[in-house]
């Protein structure tokens, strides 16, 4: 039994079936992200865990106890909102101490815990300020401290970084992860930003249309997507429609170019499947077991990485190479051999 179990959750709003048979088991201290486009149901899952929405069917177990039916204020869960949701009439210290205060804790106890929390988020001097006197990043840190002050069993983060500037988003992301690991608190993080989800999480749940498409570590999600949606939503992806000529050895036709993957494909001969490949998997030059000739269409200099677009017949391929000072990028219009390691070509049947 896991620490937090979400079993067969279903939720409909009127005719909209927003969450469909959602299952997720989270271990104690784990950081799990729900990743997906807006409207995929990720926020609804989070709100069901918090108790703001009641699932139509299914169970939410925290260390074995079913939470469905209990009110949010009885669940002992911490939550951070996208819009900070700090109480504007209370100081930073009063905000952080709110949960302890409504629980009837002693003043001295509250003060001690508040000081500890403000220290944790690095805002020890700002306890007397009001929220409107803080920057967005500071407000969100206070919101985090407020959620953690009551020592919740589970921490829920609902797009906490979306309202912030790009730079603060990066630092706060690292900070959230560091605090989470230090406290060892079980955390669910909702985001639509795939880079955010991959960089911060132990595991990622990619959601689409109310379904969990894939659950896995960032490494698995990125390198071995199991559905086309996951592959396309996470990272940049090259996809090629190919026709299977021999499923047993993995022979396919890309336009008029034959390719052999040397492994079986779970499809009939003559079926159309999709080959997917990350830009960094391909490389310029003849290295691997499979080389194609491409005509360089575009070169984008991105600093440490150079992104190249090449035409292979009627298909387009995007590939990333590291920038090396001793190797200038190929000229546009030149014909160059491009190596595709067959192991990095993912076959997506559906």
């Amino acid at each position: 039994m896991a620490y937090l179990d979400l079993l067969h959750l279903e939720k409909s709003f009127g005719p909209n079936h927003v969450v469909k048979d959602f299952n997720l088991r989270i271990e104690q201290g784990e950081f799990v992200s729900l990743l997906g486009p807006s409207g995929c149901g990720k926020t609804t899952v989070l709100r069901m865990v918090a108790g703001f929405e009641t699932p139509n069917t299914g169970k939410i177990l925290i260390s074995g106890t079913d939470m469905v039916g209990s009110r949010p204020n009885q669940r002992n869960i911490g939550m951070v909102f996208q819009s900070y949701a700090l109480f504007p009439n209370l100081t930073v210290a009063q905000n952080v101490g709110f949960g302890l205060s409504v629980a009837g804790k002693k003043r001295s106890q509250i003060a001690e815990r508040v000081a500890e929390m403000l220290d944790l988020i690095g805002l020890a001097d700002l306890g007397a300020r009001f929220p409107f006197q803080l920057s967005g990043g500071q407000q969100q840190r206070v919101a985090l401290a407020r959620a953690l002050a009551v020592r919740p069993k589970v921490l829920l983060l609902d797009e906490p970084l979306s309202a912030l500037d790009a730079k603060i988003r990066l630092t706060l992301r690292r900070e959230i992860r560091a605090i989470q690991q230090r406290l060892g608190i079980t955390t669910i993080f909702v985001t639509h930003d795939q880079e955010e989800a991959l960089s911060i999480s132990d595991r990622v749940v990619v959601m689409n249309n109310g379904l969990a498409d894939q659950i896995g570590t960032p490494f698995e999600i990125y390198n071995h997507p199991t559905t086309r949606f996951v592959a396309e939503f996470v990272g940049t992806l090259n996809t090629f429609e190919v026709t299977v000529t021999d499923p047993d050895v993995g022979a396919v036709m890309l336009g008029t170019t034959p390719l052999v993957l040397n492994r079986t494909i779970a499809a009939q001969k003559g079926a159309k499947v999709t080959l997917a490949m990350r830009p960094e998997a391909a490389s310029l030059g003849r290295f691997g077991n499979m080389t194609l000739i491409g005509r360089i269409a575009d070169v984008q200099f991105l600093g440490s990485i150079i992104r190249i677009r090449a035409d292979i017949g009627a298909h387009q391929l995007t590939l990333d190479t590291f920038n090396r000072s001793d190797m200038p990028p190929p000229a546009i219009g030149s014909e160059t051999p491009i190596s595709l390691p067959t192991s990095s070509l993912v076959v997506l049947v559906k």
Partner: protein, 277 residues
């Protein structure tokens, strides 16, 4: 050159707003011969005037307080009570009408309803066997006047406080709830403190609103009621106080009181806007 654009407005407001008021304020500190004096203002303390001011203040305070309270309850019910959306829009529209339906016609409506031969008085007597006037109720009394004033005070409160209620964000409630607060704790520690400044500010506005009101009271009681604006009104018409300078002092006193209440309103508005930025 830019200043030229303000000249028409400056002349108009000087001539028809600032100078007339200034003239009154100045008069309050002058004898009839034009010498400086504090006697006029001191004379406000004479029982007849002081009582009129006191009744005015009580009347305005009672109607503002009750209007504020009931308006708040109604606005909260309409905004957060789970009523259908069209009810809310119609309430706001009706409030716009009712807050402007003051003065003489309003008192007619109440006389026709709760006067000695008003329909409600008759219905209550015939159907329930209760004689309102026999029980001491009188529309032409202090509380009768409060009842009438509420007809424009409550809608004004609804109009001003509804945006503040809309400003209460759902996340605040949810954040409080998930931190363990009950609904009551949320209202006491978060919602009410946030709504307090705009409520107090609106109450000051309601106070000033009824303090200057005169037509409703005149139409109801025939200018016999001794409240500050009516005393001043009668003084202007016929110098009933036998002291023309006292009129200036009364007017000055009224400006001071409405000025203070408006100051409260402005301070409170600034405070609540600062929070909800």
């Amino acid at each position: 050159m830019n200043w030229l654009g303000l000249v028409p407005f400056a002349i108009f407001s000087l001539l028809f707003l600032l100078l007339p008021t200034f003239n009154i304020v100045l008069g309050a500190f002058r004898t009839q011969q034009g010498a400086a004096t504090l006697d006029n203002v001191m004379n406000l303390a004479q029982p007849r005037i002081a009582i009129a001011f006191w009744v005015s203040i009580k009347l305005s305070f009672a109607s503002a307080l009750i209007g504020c309270l009931l308006g708040f309850i109604l606005a909260t019910t309409v905004a957060l009570g789970g009523l259908p959306r069209w009810l809310r829009q119609s309430t706001l529209t009706f409030s716009g009408v009712a807050s402007n339906f003051a003065g003489v016609p309003l008192s007619f409506a109440f006389i026709a309803t709760l006067g000695r031969v008003g329909i409600l008085t008759i219905v209550i007597r015939e159907v329930f066997g209760i004689n309102l006037y026999g029980l001491g109720f009188n529309l032409l009394s202090f509380w009768g006047l409060v009842l009438v004033y509420l007809y424009f005070q409550i809608p004004l409160m609804i109009l001003i406080i509804t945006p503040a209620l809309d400003g209460l964000r759902r996340e605040w409630r949810e954040a409080a709830e998930i931190l363990g607060a009950t609904g009551f704790q949320y209202w006491r520690r978060v919602a009410l403190p946030i709504l307090w400044p705009p409520t107090l500010g609106t109450m000051a506005l309601l106070f000033a609103n009824s303090f200057g009101a005169i037509a409703t009271a005149v139409a109801l009681t025939g200018s016999q009621l001794s409240i500050a604006p009516i005393v001043l009104f009668n003084q202007i018409r016929g110098d009933v106080l036998q002291d023309p300078q006292l009129g200036y002092a009364i007017a000055f006193g009224m400006i001071v009181i409405t000025g203070i209440t408006n100051l409260i309103y402005i301070v409170m508005r600034v405070r609540s806007e600062r929070w909800l930025k």
